[in-house]
Amino acid sequence: MRTTIVDRPIDPAVLLAEVADARNGAAILFLGTVRNVNDGRAVTGIEYSAYREMAERELAAIAQEAAERFGTRDIVVEHRLGALALGEVSVAIAVAHSHRAAGYDASRYVIEELKRRVPIWKREAYVDGTREWVDPTAQPSVMSS
């Protein structure tokens, strides 16, 4: 089990290698990537920042919870901070399990809890040169509905 906040590109192959074990029959890798459109606006990049010490604690707690609930310790999570270009990977979650159903559930648990409670923020840059902090609790604009 490993959870890390990083300042460099994420290499998914490294995470997959870390969770690999001959006891496991399934590995699930989730990648979050920077989209070119959000809420109807054309995005050119995202800057991620965090309350770093707490983000590290929360991520570690989430992985521990997933391990206990879903029965595998083969869980590795990396979240990147800093300026990311379109298509770059912001978060990678690798889970391996003896059985796939529990593996999928553990993967899902980690990403949903991460988005709910890990203190990380992102500021999107738009084609018109403006930048804005993303607030997932805000109502979506009419354009994106």
Partner: protein, 80 residues
Amino acid sequence: MTVTALLFASYADVLNRDRVELALPAGATVREALAQLRALPGGGLLPPAPLVAVNQAYARDDAILVHGDELAVIPPVAGG
């Protein structure tokens, strides 16, 4: 007593700083610390009941602070 308030992302923008040392009476709660932050220039833009963490763990606004605590005011998180 002194408590260190940390501000992040949009909250750091509205208060134009990412850290404030707050002088508070003994037994003060998170709510009283937030009231002091709201009195600062730009503090009126903080939401009525923001998420907070004390010493890196989420806390309620009636949590009692002690000298040296780190109080983080946490904008809506957007990781992933």
